[in-house]
């Protein structure tokens, strides 16, 4: 079946028409008519998100020969499982070779990634919230300009920025050269977890600052003023009025930072010196180097489920779903 782009266009076209016809039959009240505006999007998502996901699912639940299996998922808990299975199949005796141990590589890596993502999110929050607070201050004339300055680094290529950090953090890098010049001892700024965390925070900080800034800047000033009139000091005003009202922004920021940071994959390699893999590296290696699409897909699905679960937990904190507010 050879589908040209026009073929796809035609399918989408008819799909939308189809959906519209169904919706039209629903003639209930005004609101219903507007809902058909989302039908192109629904069709789009089915085509380009749901169907591809099913393809990944196909690989996750089958083995190399296409037979249904749950083995790929079992590989998560014992990372040696597939290897042991193959060795047994080739006639080797695991006991004789002393290779019966369970492997915890996948679990360890996921835990490490979650820890790093959590650390990164917390640091971004601690650094980003005060920054957003200061910038969003109505009396601060330069505010809108400064927030723009936060966005621009994100438009520079990610690889180049990370490599620039290498030049700064290396044992003979710019920072350490400065230290030596000043007669201070050199710092171990790279090839460790610290460096990876720094790289991650650097990358995701603007994603935390921006939504919080937006939430704060649209707050009604009169609420704070009212609190002050009622006798609250600065701290109380902040803690009881400003902070709670900025919650949607915080939730949004956490979402935009935590999710992608679990799957970071270039930073650990470059700044961490490849010493510890994160889950993103692991999945990439499984798909490409090990050429194992089945296990790779299973691991990806597992990770997605985990992330989805944490997001729904977050949603409980923010029931109105306003967590997505950037403006």
């Amino acid at each position: 079946m050879n589908l040209s782009p026009f073929g796809i266009g035609l399918i989408v076209f008819s799909g939308v028409l189809f959906v519209f016809l169904i919706a039209y039959g629903f003639k209930v009240h005004h609101g219903m008519h507007r809902s058909i505006f989302s039908s192109p999007y629904t069709v789009w998502m089915i085509l380009f998100t749901v169907v591809p996901l099913f393809l990944i699912g196909y690989y996750a639940f089958t083995d190399v020969n296409g037979k249904f299996t749950l083995e790929n998922f079992a590989n998560f808990w014992d990372s040696n499982r597939e290897m042991k299975r193959q060795l047994i199949g080739m006639g080797f005796s695991l006991e004789e070779m002393g290779m019966t141990a369970r492997g915890s590589v996948n679990v360890d890596t996921l835990v490490y990634s979650l820890k790093m993502a959590f650390g990164c999110t917390v640091i971004c929050l601690l650094l980003g919230y005060p920054a957003a607070l200061l910038i969003a201050d109505r009396k601060f004339k330069l505010g809108p300009t400064i927030i723009i300055l936060f966005i621009i680094p994100m438009w520079m290529n990610f690889l180049l920025r990370t490599i620039a950090w290498m030049s700064l953090l290396e044992d003979n890098g710019l920072i350490n050269s400065l230290m030596t010049r000043l007669g201070l001892p050199k710092l171990k700024l790279m090839y460790n977890t610290r460096a990876v965390l720094l790289g991650m925070v650097y990358n995701y900080l603007p994603f935390m600052v921006f939504p919080i800034y937006n939430a704060l800047s649209k707050q009604d000033v009169r609420l704070s003023e009212a609190a002050q009139d009622l006798g609250a000091n600065n701290f109380l005003t902040f803690w009881r009025v400003v902070f709670p009202l900025s919650m949607p922004g915080i939730v949004s920021g956490i979402t935009m930072v935590f999710m992608p940071s679990v799957t970071t994959f270039f930073i650990p390699r470059v700044l961490g010196g490849g010493n510890t893999e994160m889950f993103g590296d692991l999945i990439e290696r499984t798909f490409l180097t090990a050429d194992n699409w089945n296990v790779g897909s299973a691991l990806s699905l597992l990770m997605m489920v985990l992330i989805l679960m944490s997001i729904s937990l977050l949603r409980k904190v923010d029931p109105e779903g306003e967590g997505g507010s950037f403006v």
Partner: protein, 256 residues
């Protein structure tokens, strides 16, 4: 007191954000090819940049995809948000979950799953498929930018407009769109940013013939990324900085 704290904290954070950028730009003037050795000041990489059709092409691909994908994602997403907003609790909650899924998928899974789709449907990968992929991962962000503004909006203004004799399309254009406009621009900006720097998804959904900047830089990594790329980034940085500051000045002047 606040002024003091602001005067110290913000510059520090900005220093943190811009330090690598400065390093990047300075290295674009290195006469030598390795970032490890400074061999004097030179403009050779800038000259090489403009003499390289490959880089210019990659730049064209990157920018055009970012612009096109943002436009389409914004249209698709805004319409979707309007639609979702007028749905019942159950339906809208289902749609929002659907919207969340691409955001929870790691880039490599999105990339590979789309590649599988294109292989399966025998669509040859290239510019077109890369564009499709970009629209796919951008649209959820547009929706999430527009939704809050919709919720903020007075529910009944649309109805009121209709009652007063406006046609639905008039009401759409003159009532709904103006009040959600800030959300739309944020969504568009976000889409543009994400598309500009995307690597993994682009890599798997394009053909080696059609490269964007990120895939080009990554492919140079093996032999060593030449400072030509730094030169390009430096120019882009300056251009964007000027553009954004000018736009910012203009809009704040309007608001006054």
């Amino acid at each position: 007191m606040k002024k003091w704290v602001r005067g110290i904290y913000l510059p520090l954070i900005l220093l943190f954000l811009y330090l690598p950028i400065v390093v990047l730009i300075v290295q674009s003037f290195n006469a030598g090819v390795s970032r490890a050795r400074w061999e004097g000041f030179s403009l050779r990489w800038y000259k090489e940049l403009f003499a390289s059709p490959q880089i210019m092409r990659a730049l064209y691909v990157t920018l055009s995809i970012a612009v096109l994908a943002s436009i389409f994602a914004t249209i698709l997403g805004t319409l979707a948000a309007i639609g979702i907003n007028s749905m019942g609790k159950k339906a809208s909650s289902a749609m929002l979950t659907l919207t969340n899924i691409p955001m929870t998928m790691p880039d490599i899974v999105t990339g590979i799953s789309l590649m599988l789709l294109f292989i399966f449907t025998k669509v040859s990968r290239g510019y077109f498929t890369m564009l499709l992929a970009h629209v796919t991962f951008n649209t959820p962000y547009v929706i999430l930018s527009v939704m809050p503004k919709l919720r903020e909006m007075n529910k009944y203004s649309y109805e009121a407009a209709l009652d007063l004799g406006a046609t639905p399309s008039y009401a759409l254009r003159h009532v709904i769109l103006p009040s959600i406009f800030p959300g739309i621009t944020t969504g568009a900006l976000l889409s543009f940013t994400l598309s500009l720097d995307d690597f993994t998804i682009s890599y798997f959904t394009t053909s080696p013939l059609v490269q964007n900047l990120s895939t080009l830089i990554y492919s140079e990594a093996r032999k060593g990324i030449k400072p030509t790329m730094n030169a390009l980034s430096a120019l882009m940085f300056v251009a964007l900085l000027i553009l954004l500051l000018v736009v910012n000045r203009r809009t704040s002047a309007d608001h006054k």
